[in-house]
């Protein structure tokens, strides 16, 4: 069975249908880049996958959990499917170490010393061992985003969702975050990432999904899809972002 299955999902906000029947499957270890114009429904799709938004129709199954079931265990789902946001969303009242430790203690029920050990390991992995005791407002955007990735990785998810995690960063800070992402990818993590970094999508992703007006307009191997778009819509989108 696939790790993620979306079957004809539909999502409306009020009268506006934002996702108009999306079906896709994601295999374990796959890295999928999701691209598309602003408003095409990329974030909404990601948020539906980890249950932050409810769908009106269709079925979503993640790692055996039926997200769309009325009594779905969303907290369990979210341990399996980590999510990192554009705006980092670190907890401002906790230092780096305790940002990472919080869910380890509350959700994975580790004791303080075990949680601290995991926190130090993941924070070191994203290259911020010297910032363990810094507060979020003492870090650059790039550093905050690396902590957010570490915080999510610490939960040992089977799937990671990334929503434009470099879009809020100054250009010179994008590289450090992408390098961390590459590291995560090279360890075999299943990843779905909304991105405007076409080079990253081409070089790191296995597969690209192009969303257009609430539908999946193209879905194929990364290089091929980006280098030889089949539809006029993708071609014009790529022209717009590359030039």
């Amino acid at each position: 069975m696939s790790l993620v299955e979306l079957a004809d999902i539909r999502k409306r906000f009020g009268a506006v249908e934002v996702l108009k029947g999306i079906s896709l499957t994601l295999e374990k270890g796959e890295i999928v880049a999701v691209i598309g114009r602003s408003g095409s429904g990329k974030s909404t799709m990601l948020r539906c996958i980890n249950g932050l938004e409810k769908v009106q129709a269709g079925r979503i199954v993640v790692d055996g959990i039926d997200v769309t079931a009325p009594k779905a265990d969303l907290n369990l789902l979210r341990q399996r499917a980590g999510m990192v946001f554009q705006s980092y969303n670190l907890f401002p009242h906790l230092n780096v170490e305790r940002n990472v430790m919080l869910a380890l203690k509350l959700v994975r029920k580790l004791d303080t010393s075990a949680a601290r050990e995991v926190a130090r390991a993941v924070v070191t992995k994203v290259g911020l061992a010297d910032k363990l005791h810094a507060y979020p407002d003492e870090l650059s955007g790039g550093q905050q985003q690396r902590v957010a990735i570490a915080r999510s990785l610490a939960m040992q998810p089977t799937l990671m969702l990334f929503d434009e995690i470099t879009s809020a960063l100054d250009p010179e800070l994008v590289g450090e975050v992408l390098r961390v992402l590459e590291g995560v990818a090279s360890e075999g993590m299943t990843m779905m990432l909304v991105t405007h970094e076409m080079n990253f999508a081409k070089n790191v992703a296995d597969r690209v999904i192009f969303m257009h007006e609430g539908r999946i307009h193209e879905d194929g191997p990364a290089r091929e899809t980006l280098l030889e778009p089949r539809t006029a819509e993708l071609r014009s989108f790529l022209n717009a972002v590359l030039h």
Binding site: R78, N89, L102, S152
Partner: protein
């Protein structure tokens, strides 16, 4: 008999200031507990209770405190409940404070970004864990300044209870001023005491804000 304003009068004023403090403290505890209830009723997803809380807040914020004091002091005896000045003062100041605390705390809770709730959710935290470990600590930090700002108002407003004969700092000043015919030194002393209380409160707020680290 007219006498000089003496050191003993200053001691008397300081002793009366203890009642000012005790009254403010009582209203803070009573109003604080009731204020939590008001804030909760204001945000829980059940309309009739929201309306009840809003009505409470508007009624109390929209009428003068002096009027509320009179209602308790002169009104309750009319329905057969005799109250002394202390009880009427403590009761009406607590109710007065509950409306303001309720609003301040609701606002603080709601000013924590929705994204913080989501970040907690995305890590698998339950609703109660998100509230207790993510949102409340931030809301408390945000609420310190307005809460203490209101406490300063509350301390000064205890002076209105002089009008129902409760002997706190202002009433004591009136008494001594009447005996010495030296209103200026008396009221200046009272003003200095009020200032020391209120200034200490705002210093306390600064100290708390520094200790609870939250993004500015």
């Amino acid at each position: 008999m007219i006498r000089e304003f003496a050191d003993a009068d200053i001691v008397y004023l300081i002793e009366a200031a203890r009642w000012t403090l005790l009254l403010a403290l009582t209203a803070t505890v009573g109003g604080g507990l009731l204020g939590i209830v008001v804030a909760v009723l204001r945000v829980i997803p059940f309309r009739p209770l929201n309306w009840l809380a809003i009505a409470w807040i508007n009624l109390i914020q929209g009428t003068p405190l002096l009027g509320q004091l009179f209602v308790f002091f002169f009104g309750l005896p009319l329905v057969g409940l005799s109250v002394d000045a202390w009880t009427a003062a403590a009761l009406s100041l607590s109710i007065y404070a509950s409306a303001f605390f309720g609003e301040i705390w609701r606002g603080s809770l709601q000013s924590v970004s929705q994204r913080q709730w989501e970040a907690g959710a995305a890590l698998g935290l339950t609703y109660a864990q998100r509230l207790g470990h993510v949102v409340l600590p931030q809301a408390i930090r945000i609420s310190i300044a307005p809460t203490v700002g209101f406490l300063v108002q509350l301390v000064k407003n205890t002076s209105l209870t002089a009008l129902i004969g409760f002997v706190e700092l202002t009433r004591a000043s009136q008494i001594i001023s009447g005996a010495t015919f030296a209103p200026l030194p008396v009221y200046l002393t009272a003003a200095v005491i009020y200032f020391i209380i209120c200034f200490s409160l705002s210093q306390l707020a600064h100290m708390l804000e520094r200790r609870l680290h939250v993004a500015r």
